[in-house]
């Protein structure tokens, strides 16, 4: 007789998911699955709408990183209006978009680390869940300062977004072929020279101290961090043509777990030749794979870890230094430790802060040449490195400028198989032979999913509001254990 354990919904990830763990009659793990129960249908909503509406409409997928969708759609439409990709835009157009993107990277990563993940590190993974949240951080003598830092870092990122997109959430800055505003000298000075702590210099300082915090934690908990979950995988991301980390634009690159190149220098307009999507009956979320490796072996990771595994260097000095330490740890080979994703994420946060600071000094941001156009095309693909990983937007239009096809592969979808593997890894390690559900068991599964910072519904939910449920079912679906915790 096999039994099924269900954990739902997972707390402190954006959106919600459900984990079922099926035991066989020996209480060994027979199968684990991370079910994504959301079905959002944006690919359908956008059909029949004028193409220039897409960046504004599709960003509503998400309340955490809408800028990624906004920009990926705009990049796809750059191709359609004939502005092309890469250097096709005016300097002001491209740099304003970059600033917007760095701003959102910074705020999203800060949110993830400080609000969602740091309670696990600071209070311990097995601490009372009542304690293990950001509100408790603000109440504790020891960590209050840190919690405030997190809040202010997120706020700064949001201000960058507001000044480039018009609004902190769901703005309209990027339009096909460019941007609808520049950055006034006053706006620039506000970000560059604002009162402490809300200025770019302080953000670089705080981002550096966050990396240091993780390294310190790691030194003391190396065993735990390294062994929590690790498994080899392929890694995919955009990389700048000279091999640098670039989250706004680049060429597609994939490497295997040993760092061998699977493909490189791929123009993402051709992504369909390289990436396939598999549908499995039990999940609304598709399973992308690298075509040359096939469905079984072609799955890959995206996100902070994958990006640092595919790029050769980081084009900002402090982050580059941290990158070297990070790379040293695995002897230059790809890093396959799930919890190191947090480390990679913090290095990227530092990179984003440094890029913001550098870009703000660039007079191109005050330019007035905002939009370009060229020969119109019927189809366009836009890729961007969203905080959670590579994001694909693909549109085609009809003769009357209405969208007739949209295909989106969101970051979390790319990470679908890796998250499933990670759950399987943790479940095998912690649940084998057990028939009762315990809080640490539930939390372990959550922690490993949270490392991917999944955006399961791509929608915002209040922190800590979602209860965790776990069900243990036998082979006939009969409930044999049930646990519910936290409100």
């Amino acid at each position: 007789m096999s039994k099924k354990i269900t954990i739902e919904p997972i707390t402190r990830v954006e959106g919600h998911g459900k984990v079922t763990i099926k035991l066989d009659d020996q209480n060994n793990i027979e199968q684990t699955r991370l079910h994504i129960v959301e079905f959002r249908g944006f690919e359908r909503f956008v059909q029949g709408r004028p193409y220039w509406e897409a960046p504004v409409l599709v960003q509503r997928l998400c309340g955490i990183c809408p800028v990624s969708h906004h920009l990926a759609a705009a990049k796809a439409l750059d191709v359609i209006v004939g502005a092309g990709t890469g250097k096709g835009l005016t300097p002001t157009g491209e740099k304003m978009r970059r600033l917007m993107h760095y701003g959102q990277f910074f705020q999203s990563h800060a949110l993830h680390f400080f609000h969602l993940s740091s309670p696990d590190f600071l209070f311990g993974f097995d601490a009372d869940p009542e304690m293990r949240n950001v509100v408790a951080l603000t109440r504790s003598e020891e960590f209050r300062e840190l919690a405030i830092q997190g809040v202010m870092m997120r706020k700064f990122g949001q201000e960058v977004i507001r000044l480039t997109a018009g609004k902190k959430i769901h703005g309209t800055g990027a339009i096909p072929g460019g941007i609808n505003k520049n950055l006034s000298p006053e706006e620039r000075d506000f970000l560059l020279k604002g009162d402490d702590p809300l200025n770019a210099r302080k953000m670089v300082e705080w981002a550096q101290s966050a990396v240091d915090l993780f390294k310190d934690y790691y030194k003391k908990n190396r065993e735990f961090v390294d062994h929590f979950s690790r498994f080899p995988s392929n890694h995919l991301s955009l990389v700048r043509d000279d091999g640098a980390l670039d989250i706004y634009h680049g060429l597609l690159k994939a490497v295997d777990s040993e760092g061998r190149v699977i493909f490189d220098n791929v123009d993402y307009q051709e992504y369909l030749d390289f990436i396939g999507e598999e549908v499995r009956s039990w999940s609304y979320m598709k399973f992308p794979f690298i075509k040359s490796l096939g469905k079984e072996k072609g799955w890959y990771r995206v996100g902070p870890l994958a990006r640092l595994n595919t790029c050769d260097f980081i084009p900002s000095p402090q982050a580059q230094k941290e990158f070297e330490i990070f790379k040293d740890h695995t002897g230059g080979k790809p890093n396959n430790f799930c919890l190191h994703t947090h480390w990679a994420r913090l290095i990227e946060t530092l990179y984003a802060a440094e890029m913001i600071k550098e870009l703000l000094e660039d007079p191109d941001l005050q330019g007035n040449d905002l939009v370009t156009k060229g020969e119109k095309k019927k189809e366009g693909v836009g890729l961007i490195e969203a905080p959670r990983g590579t994001l694909f937007h693909h549109y085609s239009i009809n003769d009357n400028d209405l969208i007739d096809m949209a295909n989106l592969i969101v970051s979390t979808t790319n990470n679908n198989e890796p998250m499933n593997r990670a759950v399987n890894y943790v479940a095998k390690a912690r649940m084998t032979g057990k028939e009762k559900i315990t809080e640490p068991m539930m939390n372990a599964v959550e922690v490993v999913i949270r490392a991917y910072d999944p955006c399961l519904s791509c929608a915002t939910h209040a922190l800590g509001k979602m209860p965790l449920e776990m069900e243990l079912l036998d082979v006939d679906g009969k409930l044999i254990d049930y646990k519910r915790s936290r409100q």
């Binding site: 709408r49 018009g166 703005g171």
Partner: protein, 232 residues
């Protein structure tokens, strides 16, 4: 010719205007805002939307079609009238498909601005979710029937040199919809296309390939509510 001036009262305030002016214009001259949707300055009033309803000597009348007379007592900003206006706005919202978040008129839309002014949070009536099409066959203008509130401003305001209208209603009853005269529209100038988009109080007429050019912060109602330019 000397003009005849009359005195009248709006919400207790003594006002003065030329005799024969419509209440809406007379109120404006005196710094009083009465909302409009179907009305547009310079065009013959239609009295179609009823959003300008006021109480004239105790009876509801449309301010855009009623001339002001001496001694008239008009009630405008009172709960009863505001209730009527809010109801009309809610009815318009549920009757079409008005998805402000992705509409390029958002921030400059009169319907949206009035919804904010009258504090509509969510309509009290069930949404009808009609199935309506987007007609993008014209080279310059898109007609989005989902958003049209049938105010006829485009029909009345957008005309060629022979005073022929580019727009007309077609079909009847609840199926009525705005139609572009294709022959004329193919010759439509960019200026007239722009005027069509501007005359439409909502986002039902859109110039192709130019959406979202106005950044947030520079749209019509980004800083002050509709009517602030009139109210004193």
């Amino acid at each position: 010719m000397s003009k005849n001036f009359v005195e009248f009262i709006i919400d207790g305030k003594k006002c003065m205007s030329e005799e024969g002016k419509y209440i809406i214009d007379a109120a404006k001259d005196n710094g009083v805002y009465i909302p409009t949707l179907c009305n547009i300055e310079g065009l013959k009033p239609k009295g179609a939307c009823r959003i300008c309803s006021v109480l004239v000597n105790g009876r509801p009348m449309t301010a855009c079609t009623t001339p002001v007379t001496s001694g008239m007592e008009i009630e405008n900003n009172i709960a009863q009238i505001e209730g009527i206006r809010k109801t009309i706005i809610e009815a318009l919202f549920v009757e079409g498909n008005h998805f402000c978040p992705s509409c390029e008129k958002s921030g400059s839309c009169e319907l949206q601005a009035l919804a904010y002014k009258y504090k509509m949070l969510v309509p009290r009536f069930p949404f009808m979710f009609p199935i309506r099409e987007v007609d993008a066959s014209n080279p310059k203008l898109i007609k989005d029937h989902n958003r049209c509130i049938l105010c006829k401003r485009c029909i009345r305001g957008i005309r060629d040199e022979n005073d022929r209208s580019y727009f007309a209603f077609k079909k009847r009853g609840h199926e009525v919809e705005i139609n572009i005269n294709h022959e004329m529209a193919n010759k439509m100038t960019d200026r007239l296309a722009r005027e069509s988009m501007d005359i439409c109080p909502v986002g039902a007429l859109l110039i192709k390939e130019s959406g979202f050019r106005t950044p947030i912060g520079q749209r019509k109602y980004d800083h002050l509510p509709i009517g602030s330019d009139i109210e004193k």
